[in-house]
């Protein structure tokens, strides 16, 4: 059974939970990941992730962006970064410390999402103040999902079995 949830930012919290990593044997210090679980987690975690981030984007993105665009951004931005954060980074950083993984994932996700949003929607007509607001809101959305995810995790509401 899959987990309750995750989000782009929450994924680092979960990817290192006990039981999520499978130690191959005692001499190999690098944890061996269950790749199938990562993919399963990707599917179910994505939906909770957008459930948390999309409302933040809907409310916070600057005025020039219509509601349909804000909604689309909620689905699209997370979809673009989530596979890397949930599948690629845990594998590539299997031997790294947890905080290192968190730092990379938490930097990668908002930066990439902000850049994608800017490339897609920041036309010359968008004012500088609105652009800054968009960047900040995307960062806030990621922080919100990370914080909520951390809280869920501490309460034992998130798991993969």
């Amino acid at each position: 059974m899959c987990c309750l949830a995750s989000l782009v930012s929450l994924a680092p919290v979960l990817a290192w939970r006990p039981g999520f990593l499978l130690l191959a044997d005692a001499q190999v210090t690098v944890a061996r990941l269950d790749v199938g679980q990562l993919w399963r987690f990707l599917v179910c975690g994505y939906f909770l992730s957008i459930a948390i981030e999309t409302p933040v984007l809907l409310v916070g993105l600057s005025r020039p962006h219509p509601w349909r665009r804000r909604l689309a951004a909620g689905f699209w931005l997370t979809a673009c970064t989530y596979p890397v954060v949930v599948v690629a980074l845990p594998i590539l950083m299997a031997s790294a410390a947890h905080w290192q993984y968190l730092a990379v994932a938490e930097t990668f996700a908002p930066l990439t999402e902000g850049a994608l949003f800017a490339l897609a929607f920041h036309t010359p007509a968008v004012r500088r103040a609105d652009r800054v607001q968009d960047w900040l809101v995307i960062l806030l959305a990621n922080l919100a999902s990370f914080g909520l995810g951390w809280w869920f995790d501490t309460r034992g509401w998130l798991w993969i079995s």
Partner: protein, 243 residues
């Protein structure tokens, strides 16, 4: 773990009815059947479990446990030899094959052997499996040591009963010692790579599970594809509606 080992070193094997059986995987271990009414039948069950323990040990990564898996294997094979000798003894003394009734039980709770209460801490599924099989073998030779255990009393078996139990305990002790070695190995940092070695020759690369690299490529491709597709889609929308 150290506490468990210390406990095992001083405590005799226990029969406890109030402890859930430790299990591995998704399936709980089978509960032991009711004690057999003949000594030969109980020897047969013990032989089956000892054979299972030997097979599990043979599948283990023996080199990870400081040679203790081999020691456990030697003890298990000695136990098997003693079981065979006890079986031969019973053939020569058929009068000892029928077991006398033991004392009446205080309750009828199912027995649960827990030689290692924290068996799940033993690293390696094969060691855990071997440990369980040893427990199940040992229980065939115990005579009502706990309040809930009851059944016919197995005899001395020509002196082989004590030998077999000693063999099983030696095997169990070796398993615990091996588990400690493995735990200690796991805590030590990996040895530095030899001078001039290519980074790709290190243990990290060799420890990659099958499917990891394809998964990395697939997930990155998925992300890039979604990003480019989205950019293209929104750009085309903007051409239609420049707002």
């Amino acid at each position: 773990m150290a506490a468990v080992v210390a406990l095992l070193a001083v405590a005799p094997p226990m029969i406890r009815a109030d402890v859930a059986p430790p299990f591995f995987g998704n399936k709980p271990p089978p509960l032991p059947a009711a004690p057999s009414p003949t000594a030969s039948a109980r020897l047969e069950v013990a032989q089956k479990n000892l054979t299972a323990a030997a097979a599990a040990l043979a599948r283990g990564h023996a080199n990870l446990y400081g040679g203790y898996v081999e020691k456990a294997g030697v003890a298990v094979h000695q136990a098997l030899a003693d079981v065979a000798a006890a079986t031969a003894y019973l053939k020569e003394h058929p009068g000892e094959n029928t077991l006398p009734a033991g004392p009446a039980p205080e309750d009828k709770t199912k027995i649960v052997p827990t030689l290692f209460p924290e068996m799940e801490r033993i690293p390696g599924i094969n060691l855990m499996e071997a440990n369980l099989a040893l427990n199940l073998a040992l229980v065939e030779f115990l005579n009502n040591p706990g309040r809930s255990y009851h059944g016919p009393v197995i005899g001395d078996l020509g002196g082989f009963r004590a030998k077999i139990m000693t063999d099983i305990n030696q095997a169990s002790a070796a398993l615990v010692a091996g588990a400690l070695v493995a735990e200690k190995n796991a805590e030590q940092p990996p040895p530095p790579p030899p001078a001039g070695a290519m980074p790709s020759a290190g243990p990290r690369t060799s420890s990659r599970a099958p499917g990891e690299w394809p998964s990395v490529l697939a997930s990155v491709s998925l992300s890039v594809g979604l990003a480019l597709g989205g950019l293209h889609f929104f750009a085309s929308k903007r051409r239609i509606d420049p707002r």
